[in-house]
Symmetry: C2
Subunit: 716 residues, 2 copies
């Protein structure tokens, strides 16, 4: 029985701003020195201090982001390509983290051991939610409470695992759940919302194979190998790891996050199929990994007591995995479709602000709904984003399309850079790191191994049936694109109660930092080395394959930016298609319809079945597209079909909305997409030039000019 | 000495979703019934439950907002004008609040009285930050902790005031600080960012008088009268109120929030000076009220022990008020100007996404900086917003201008509707309401009285010197526009520890609800009754006064929307100014320069001095405008002036950037402003018509068409 009172402990959540440190010291002095003052005032001062510390914490990150933004600009301005913004954010994060760690001031946390008043009768299975603690206050001002005793409430926080040293840090930099509830949702939603559906669907089979089979395979392989290696290590480490721990590590280190690579692909116009493979896989394997790690967690906590293999527990975890994944998918899809219906059958598009608000609210409610029903919000928003892009986007007014895209683009940018800064900062400030060189080296090797198992055998399998085969250079690039990022880190920092988990966090942080900076930086070089064709526009690729999509390619050219790399972009299709580029989508679709028979054999069967169903039933139901349900449903259903078909759908100009080939339906298409996307490199300048060139070509009546206005209005 | 274990208490933070209630019951059953299960699992289930409850809470509000959005659309669609969106949000909030209150399930909070372990030696002035509590766990699985005893940490929450009944509700719906840190900042920033500076500066004197003198006067009057009245009331009430309490009430009930009125003004094109008075005052008096109430709070807590009048304490509070107000103003202005410098001297505008991100980050860091230095963040972002609009906005790329405006517009819309929904919901769910009919009636009378004292005597004073006098009808309208809103509620709910404060919260909530619904609904009728001229465009007003601003008015016409009220908008200036409307600002400015001598005597002296300084030094320094510093600074400063002048500033076309009269410099001007603002009523349709009409007029060469494209690109 001993009373801990005010043992001085460091909490590393500190700041580096000098004026505030001064004020901080003042308040500390106030707290320490005012023996005659009222406890209320000191408490008040302390609450103020806490608020200010929180503000400062956030301020550090906001400044860090602002600094990153300015440096990215400098880099882009001077055409530096060996460091991407996420790498930069990590590096700045590391620097600031080190400053905070070694130059920051300390605050102390005081704790006291307590016991129940009177005879402890525990009739509940749970510790109480709050403790009430009577504290004698030697105050002179007796007007407020005559006894001089105040009762304070204390809220349940969590278990203290290691009483001697590594106690729970109650001022942790950020609650890890922040990532799952605030930072990741906009990133994942934007990934879904900006998915290039055209090539995504064409490569659906390969993407699903890599994402679902590959990630699972990689997780189990890494888990197994790591377990073997760990057992060969010194005792203190091997005793703290169970197989479930290493399996969890396998699941969290498997998802890839090739932001850097994709930015470079985008700038260099790398082959679209490669782009689709890398992007599609990285989006979906995030979803797989979060559900997989949840299932592994459940296996350990609920179904199995021993940590060894048990068949029933395994089956329950497996069903968990599939249930949660598909129910989350369902919720996301249903909410997306519901938004599409709302925007189709109301005229809310007359008021773009209301429409945008509705869009944002419905998307956010998808996340909340999934979380409230114990599903995975992040997976739900991913599929919600895909549905919003595929259906709702078509119903939105021009203003809302642009506004929603711009908002989510900005949110995505800020969230992404925040999380990478935080990875850097937390390397120094997060109190629960546990460095172990052996584990870290093994983890690096296993991460590479896991990626290799994901890419090579599956590519070989896919190549058996696949028409445009995945060449070995593409396979190497896929392997190389296996950077680890936000999702791995968020999963690793979520649970750091045991030594094993802390070791895993440290290894994960280092892998993320290393891959983002080194692999991200070397991507350009690697592309050259592997002789991956760059500057391959949609245009070229399509002209080679089908000789039809020229107008689409032309549009992408005009809009794609490409940083003034000096290539002659106004090429081939331009002159012959002088009229069609004005509404590129329709033109593409019409032309694509002609080429459809030719390329349909190249599409995956899955994509073809879905494409047919989508064009015949889903799109007519959820958007204003043609053919209407009146045409596609059997005659007996005509009354219902009429009810679900809007007047607009019946009366509109067929050429504008008819999209025969769902494959070529890029909802977030190039004409609005690229001009506003990640880099926006020199778009302003290029546009003004191209616009003039087009104007000099076009000698058409007023109506065309209006279409021109409408078209160019979109991207300005 | 007694042990409270599991006394069943209602906490009113409940939800209404049936499937979730079912699941909730399941988990509750699980918690209660699993005597053999592991405590860890139960704790885990409880944590999950808590997370789900939070998600559900948020979900309720998100659905409420979505419902509000849809209903607003219906109302606008059917041209219902007697209920504004904020009124609607309040009404829906009340309904949902009632449902939650009377149909919700209950969760129970368990608390336990504890005492220090061993001999309590309190050598600190403060209660400890955390309590460590050893809890015996009758678990069978002894692998984890052999003793069967776990230590849990409890975090300090706050004082328990009334042990018997009204104990601290640890599951309060939302932490009131959420309003000051998340909800209010975007609202206030947007108010500053969208301030119509033209008429704002012309009416600066009146606005400052109403906002600073008026609000203070009103606060003290209400405080005094309320104190007198309260002392006449039954003993239990009169004993709980001090003069400081009623003064605080005066300060929090004084700021006005005429959202509804302004929306109607905007739709009906009410006289611009009246609009500027109402808007300018409401923006500034929020800032005054928050600082004033902070000073009163400080007076009570820090400077005075008795609650009676003390000269030194009063003087210290007074200096607090001025210091905090002007330092916050300064931080906001400095950060705004710093952003302007950043955007002027870098070419970050080549990358609109980076530029927008920088803008958002700098604006948010203003708030954090002010909070971290113990100033008032809300006041800082207000002035930051004004500076961003006045300077930075001019440096931004077209894309960023639109993006930032759209983002903050949407944030403002969501935040506003959220807070009004919450006012409705909390009327039923917030546990600390204290109804007292006498106090509420007195509060209503005093609120009206305070508004009257604010408007009538000050108008009389102002009319002595003012050139366009404030007519008595305008004064009645000003009085009537005194709705109470978000700021009053946020200040009232911030502190609810005493009976007095709870009574004040209830009265404030009711005043807000009443004024928003009833006064807001009657505004249209009242406008007619007072014969306030509506349909007064800038155009008409300006044509009458100066006969020059026609092109500006014309632009506003084209863009203003006005909901197809059928007025002939393409009038007067249109044909004669076929060329100038294309860059309306420049045209306005140039013409205004001619009319300047004529109208300068009508401007307030303050505005004139500031305008000169601004045009000569601030704008050349912070934006790309002309004249440059080389022209305005004395010759000896030429080297510095050259350094601060960009090449763009020297080489650009003078007519585009020369803004002689800062008064006519509407940064957020009508051509981009109104088209995207609050209602967006029928803008899409109108634009397409007008665009065609203009196109039929314009028969000019390619270069003009490009300017056309640039101009229309802005608002699409």
């Amino acid at each position: 029985m001993h009373t801990h009172t005010a043992p001085v402990r460091r909490t590393q959540v500190e700041r580096c701003c000098w004026p505030s440190s001064l004020r901080l010291l003042t308040v500390c002095a106030l707290i320490a020195g005012c023996s005659a003052a009222d406890t209320d005032i000191t408490l008040d001062a302390k609450a103020t201090l806490n608020h200010r510390i929180q503000s400062l914490d956030l301020l550090v990150f906001v400044f860090l982001l602002a600094l990153t933004v300015l440096t990215i600009w400098l880099f882009k301005h001077h055409r530096v390509s060996w460091l991407h913004e996420t790498g930069l954010a990590v590096i700045y994060g590391l620097i600031v983290g080190a400053i905070i760690r070694y130059a920051g001031t300390n605050t102390t946390l005081v704790h006291m051991q307590v016991e129940p008043q009177g005879i402890p009768t525990y009739n509940a299975k749970l510790p109480p939610d709050t403790l009430w603690f009577k504290y004698p206050v030697n105050q002179t001002n007796a007007t407020k409470l005559p006894e001089g005793v105040k009762t304070y409430a204390y809220v349940f926080r969590g278990q203290v695992y290691d009483i001697e040293e590594n106690e729970i840090d109650l001022k942790a930099t950020f609650d890890p759940e922040v990532f799952f509830n605030i930072i990741l949702p906009p990133i994942i939603f934007y990934a879904g919302y900006s998915l290039k559906k055209k090539y995504f669907f064409r490569n659906l089979g390969a993407i699903l194979t890599f994402a679902i089979v590959g990630t699972t395979l990689s997780a189990f392989l890494i888990g197994g190998v790591m377990y073997g290696c760990v057992k060969l290590m010194p005792n203190y480490l091997s005793s703290s790891f169970t197989f479930l721990d290493t399996l969890y590590f396998g699941a969290l280190i498997s998802p890839t996050d090739p932001l850097t690579i994709l930015a470079i692909f985008h700038d260099l116009h790398v082959d679209v199929n490669l782009y689709a493979l890398v992007f599609g896989e990285s989006v979906l394997n995030d979803a797989v990994a979060i559900v997989l790690s949840g299932a592994i967690q459940n296996y350990g906590e609920h179904y199995s007591n021993t940590g060894e293999f048990e068949t029933t527990a395994f089956l329950r975890s497996l069903s968990d995995f599939f249930c949660i994944f598909f129910l989350s998918l369902l919720i996301g899809a249903v909410m997306g479709c519901f938004t599409a219906l709302l925007t189709k059958f109301t005229r809310v598009r007359d008021f773009p602000l209301l429409e945008s608000a509705l869009f944002v609210l419905m998307s956010y409610s998808t996340f909340l709904l999934a979380e409230a029903t114990e599903l995975t919000g992040v997976v739900a928003v991913l599929f919600c984003g895909i549905c919003q892009a595929h259906y709702t986007y078509n119903n939105l007014s021009e203003d809302s399309r642009q506004r929603t895209k711009q908002i989510f683009e900005l949110l995505n940018f800020l969230a992404e850079n925040f999380i990478f800064s935080y990875i850097g900062v937390s390397m120094f400030t997060f109190p629960k790191h546990h460095f172990d060189a052996g584990f870290i080296i093994t983890a690096f090797i296993c991460a590479a191994l896991g990626r290799a198992v994901n890419v090579y055998p599956l590519s070989w399998l896919l190549n058996i049936k696949r028409k445009p085969k995945i060449s070995s250079n593409f396979q190497h690039m896929l392997f190389f694109a296996g950077l680890r990022g936000a999702m791995s880190f968020a999963l690793a920092i979520r649970n750091t109660v045991s030594d094993a988990r802390q070791t895993m966090l440290t290894a994960t942080s280092l892998i993320v930092i290393f891959t983002v900076i080194i692999q991200g930086g070397a991507a350009n070089f690697f592309l050259n080395w592997l002789k991956i064709p760059v500057g391959v526009d949609d245009e070229t690729e399509q002209l080679n394959n089908y000789q039809v999509h020229s107008s689409d390619g032309y549009l992408q050219d005009v809009e794609g930016g490409g940083g003034g790399r000096g290539k002659t972009r106004l090429s081939s299709g331009a002159d012959s298609n002088l009229d069609t580029p004005l509404d590129g989508n329709a033109a593409t679709a019409t032309i694509a319809a002609g080429g459809r028979r030719r390329n349909s054999h190249e599409k995956a069967i899955l994509a073809r079945i879905w494409g047919n169903f989508d064009t015949k039933y889903m799109k007519p139901l959820l958007t204003h597209s043609r053919p209407t349900l009146l045409e596609t449903l059997p005659v007996c259903c005509n009354p219902i079909a009429r009810l679900l078909t809007t007047t607009q759908q019946l009366t509109q100009d067929g050429s504008e909305f008819r999209r025969v080939d769902s494959d070529s339906d890029i909802c977030i298409d190039n004409d609005t997409g690229n001009g506003l996307s990640q880099d926006g490199l020199g778009v302003g300048r290029r546009n003004s030039i191209n616009r003039m060139e087009i104007l000099e070509h076009v000698q058409s009546p007023v109506s065309t000019r209006i279409r021109l206005l409408g078209f160019y209005g979109k991207k300005l």
